[in-house]
């Protein structure tokens, strides 16, 4: 294959749409360079070559047989769960929620490995957000809170204007007690253990309101923010994941709301997977609720408390790596022995097109630089809906 592009890379939630691919040699190279994107693209290409179309109980099968078995499992399920969406497109999510509606399924826009249920903080107080270009062009101080985008979203700093030759008057502040590739780029590096995050957020809020506090190293950060008309906070699972995550998220948004009285302050959430934003948006517009929704009652209900997962008897993984037990998996990666039915899907952004929402909500078209015959998850889910509806 010669050089292809520019196309939209779906290797992470940044969905960089200026990428060219060259895999004429031994390895795939992306320009602009991105190890994560190259690895993602190479893996999808490798898997699309020679993999079976489907498996049933680990044995190769044709797609029709696998679909029939999947439909049988779903028809017989008392409590189906749809989960994953790590690499889902908008089209995949639309088809999945339609099927969940018909089945009365539980839907979770998270990978199995993520915390459950992880009730979001935004519905409680709201948030101030911005697209990448706003932060790049306006924020003189950008605070990255316990994330390492240099590894997880390798071009984030460049896209926020901290690439080579960026304006020196801008401050990149990184809060992390690890030494990471991102802390190495920081103009201001603050280090404390995660257990102090909530206290730090509250203290910053106290400082914002002009009250005395034992602030220590936080004073310097607040001084920098207070000196500029526009600032941004970048956060993700490092701050809001795990126990107490919702409280920390609330504290962050309270702080930003307070700061917004005197200056323009926005946030950007680094979501756990590239398909998360697309699927969450679709779930919200089709059901009225985001993240975790239960259709069992014949209508959507948000799941905010401990999820009733115990009685789930069939899990359908949508565009997420089947790295654990699941009855049905629709993904490019082969299912393991714990997967009853696996159907190989075309990877959106490599072998299939589609629409995806960037982590800041900007919708983009995914191209198919190397189309193949594998169906998309959307096509398979639509087939399943037709099968089950009859």
């Amino acid at each position: 294959m010669a050089e292809l592009g520019p196309f939209t890379c779906a290797g992470c939630g940044l969905l960089c749409d200026d990428v060219t691919v060259d895999d004429s040699g031994d390895s795939v190279r992306l320009a602009p360079a991105c190890d994560l994107g190259s690895e993602w693209f190479a893996e999808r290409r490798r898997l699309s070559a020679g993999a079976p179309a489907a498996t049933i109980s680990g044995e190769p099968a044709d797609v029709e047989s696998a679909l029939a078995r999947a439909a049988e499992l779903l028809r017989g399920s008392r409590r189906p769960l749809m989960q994953g969406f790590a690499n889902a497109t908008v089209e995949d999510a639309r088809a999945a929620v339609a099927l969940a509606d018909r089945l009365g399924a539980l839907v979770s826009i998270r990978s199995p490995a993520d915390a459950w249920p992880g009730a979001p903080a935004v519905p409680l107080r709201g948030a101030s957000t911005a697209t990448l270009g706003e932060i790049r062009d306006r924020s003189q101080v950008v605070v990255i809170w316990r994330e390492d985008p240099e590894t997880t979203h390798p071009r984030l700093l460049e896209r926020l204007g901290f690439g080579d030759g960026s304006r020196s008057e801008r401050t990149l502040a990184v809060i992390d007690n690890r030494d990471t590739a991102t802390t190495a780029r920081a103009g201001l590096h603050l280090s404390w253990p995660p257990a102090r995050d909530l206290d730090a957020l509250v203290t910053l809020h106290v400082l914002q309101r002009g009250r005395p506090a034992h602030a220590g190293d936080l004073s310097g950060l607040m001084d920098r923010i207070s000196a500029v008309p526009h600032a941004a906070f970048v956060y993700g699972p490092g701050l809001i994941g795990g126990a107490g995550g919702q409280r920390r998220a609330l504290a962050l948004h309270e702080l930003v709301r307070g700061l917004c009285h005197d200056r323009h302050v926005v946030t950007l959430e680094l979501l756990p997977a590239p398909g998360t934003r697309s699927a969450d948006d679709v779930l919200a517009w089709q059901s009225g609720y985001g993240t975790h929704v239960d259709f069992a009652g014949g209508h959507p209900e948000p799941v905010t408390a401990t999820a009733p997962l115990d009685d789930v008897d069939v899990t359908l993984l949508v565009e997420s790596a089947p790295d654990g037990a699941a009855e049905i998996a629709l993904h490019g990666l082969p299912g393991g022995p714990d997967v009853e039915v696996w159907i190989r899907t075309a990877a959106a952004g490599v072998s299939a097109g589609g629409t995806a929402h960037r982590l800041d909500g900007v919708p983009l078209t995914l191209q198919a630089p190397q189309p193949d015959d594998a169906p998309t998850a959307a096509a398979l889910l639509t087939r399943l809906l037709a099968e089950i509806g009859t």
Binding site: A130, G133, Q286, G288, G298, P300, T304
Partner: protein, 550 residues
């Protein structure tokens, strides 16, 4: 396709000068026709009122701001679930319903066409995806252009006025997004908000960094839309929304657009006297007087209804004001190059001076005006209240006794500062209701096949039982026919229909891309070539309304 004869109803079709005449309406192949065959389905409409399907010229039903509002307000919908059926998708209602619920409920109300009034062009794919999931209605969206940095550059380069490049750019943007028309929201002010919480306060304030003023933006883009001959004129959310004394700005904006076609959105929110920071009062009569002398200008009211609402606007500075009034929840959402967005859940209370005044000003705009073709019905859904409150609003206009009863429950100090207690006995007729809810919006949108029942019109028809309780009458149509097929019967949805996307198209020089591409490259984080939406799954099925260049 089905042939239908709607027989013996009182037809209210003001676009064709039909005012309650008892006659048959015949439908075939999705259109109104002169006659149908003997095998046509006959709908007995004796004792009923027949109108064209409703057309909502200004509502917020799809896109990133609406979806953010859904995520922000889950508790508002939990008590209003919509069950799935063999025919219909499930959903949730409340003030900001899910997409399927939005389409179903508009249809159940007798509406067949709805305009999403404020979409960031950058988010067109998202808007189109949501509209694809909004069934039963034809829908269009207006693209936000009043704070677009690229257009600011073109306006500045042309010395502050219209130019061929600007016209080409606007036409390119409509082509790139599938949009129907052009919306200006607080021109210049949203850009200033995103810079440092600033704003513009007069039409001659300069937008920092761009050397343009709101007046230049209005003149240039309003002029360009006029010259392009787009089916819908420039749709203006004027500067200083909600601020006491803003009627001066509104009148200044109208004068600035003088001689050009223009539609003013939610005029009620722009009709205030008083001084900034003080108590507002009504200046609706002055605005109506101006409208009376300027037929080139129309408006929708943006009526406030007492009860729950969700304010959502590209005018994000307004939302910050509501936030500071003690709102529990607040969203701010900045979109690069183009616009902003603010969302605050809200409740209008009858006893509150400002809310009652807003309610009264809206009614003044309806009742003091002399030309219903100029002042159309809207609640700026969901800003002033849900579209589901339209039947109650219609009753307020048609039933003086009901109105006076409602007046008595509102803050009297506020009501005394309106004309509502001055013996205002006007009651809208059914024909006037037909004008403000379908005929005038369709005409103003340039939708020649909608809003009327003449031969050749779309077979979008609503049949109401003629009840004395006008709220009940308009809340539960007996039949709604969409595209020639019965969609609603006896208050229940009978079929599911995807509806059409309505887009407009104007010719442009494709070389405008050479002008725009470098301006994009400096500003957007999306590549110029990837910006336009070309996916047929998002753009079709559609009806394209061609511009008629002047």
């Amino acid at each position: 396709m089905t042939e239908i004869r709607i027989s013996g109803g009182a037809v209210h079709d003001p676009a064709n000068d039909v005012d309650g005449e008892v006659r048959d309406v015949c439908l075939k192949d999705g259109k109104v026709v002169n006659d149908v065959g003997p095998d046509a389905r006959r709908i007995d409409a004796r004792g009923m009122v027949v109108m064209a399907g409703g057309v909502d010229i200004h509502a917020h039903i799809a896109g990133p701001k609406v979806n953010a509002a859904r995520k922000l307000t889950p508790d508002d919908r939990r008590d209003d679930p919509l069950d799935r059926t063999e025919l219909l998708r499930s959903g949730s209602g409340g003030v900001v319903p899910s997409t399927f619920a939005t389409g179903y409920r508009y249809s159940l109300l007798g509406y067949t066409t709805v305009v999403e009034a404020a979409a960031p062009p950058l988010a067109a794919r998202h808007v189109l995806s949501e509209l694809r999931d909004t069934p039963m209605i034809d829908k269009a969206f207006l693209i936000l252009m009043g704070n677009n940095q690229v257009l600011f550059e073109l306006i500045r380069a042309s010395g502050g006025g219209d130019s061929q490049q600007l016209r080409d750019a606007i036409a390119w943007w409509l082509d790139a997004t599938g949009g129907y028309g052009v919306k200006l929201v607080n021109p210049g002010g949203v850009e200033r908000w995103k810079q440092d919480n600033g704003n513009v306060h007069s039409l001659d304030d300069e937008v920092t960094g761009f050397e343009v003023t709101p007046r230049q933006v209005l003149e240039a883009i309003g002029g360009a839309v006029d010259e392009l001959g787009l089916p819908h004129p420039v749709h203006v959310h004027a500067n200083n929304l909600g601020i006491p004394g803003n009627a001066d700005t509104t009148l200044d904006t109208m004068r600035t657009l003088s001689g050009r076609q223009a539609h003013f959105a939610h005029l009620q929110f722009h009709a205030y006297g008083g001084r900034p920071g003080g108590q507002p009062r009504s200046r609706a009569p002055e605005l109506l007087e101006y409208l009376g002398k300027h037929p080139e200008i129309t408006a929708d009211v943006g009526q406030v209804m007492f009860g729950p609402a969700v304010t959502m606007t590209a005018d994000a500075a307004v939302s910050a004001v509501l936030r500071d009034l003690g709102a529990d929840k607040w969203i701010n959402q900045d979109t690069e190059v183009e616009t902003g967005c603010g969302i605050v859940p809200y409740r209008y209370r009858a006893g509150n001076y400002v809310h009652a005044l807003q309610w009264g000003i809206g009614l003044e705009l309806f009742l003091l005006g002399t030309n219903p073709w100029q002042v159309m019905l809207s609640t700026d859904h969901p800003n002033g209240g849900s579209f589901l409150s339209y039947p109650k609003l219609i009753r307020l206009l048609m039933d003086r006794a009901f109105r006076e009863d409602q007046l008595a429950g509102a803050n009297q100090r506020a009501i005394r500062r309106t004309a509502l207690l001055d013996g205002l006995d006007r009651e809208y007729t059914l024909n006037e209701i037909a004008i403000i809810t379908r005929a005038a919006p369709a005409r103003r949108l340039g939708l020649r096949d909608k809003g009327h029942l003449g031969v050749g019109a779309d077979a979008d028809v609503t049949v109401y039982v003629d009840r004395p309780d006008r709220e009940e009458m308009f809340a539960t149509p007996r039949y709604v026919i969409k595209g020639g097929e019965v969609a609603v019967e006896e208050g229940e949805l009978r079929r599911s229909d995807d509806g059409l996307l309505l887009s407009s198209r104007a010719a442009f020089d494709p070389d405008v891309g050479r002008v725009l591409e470098p301006l994009f490259g400096d500003r957007y984080t999306v590549a110029f070539d990837h910006y336009p939406v070309r996916d047929p799954a998002l753009r079709e099925p559609a009806r394209i309304v061609e511009a008629a260049a002047r």
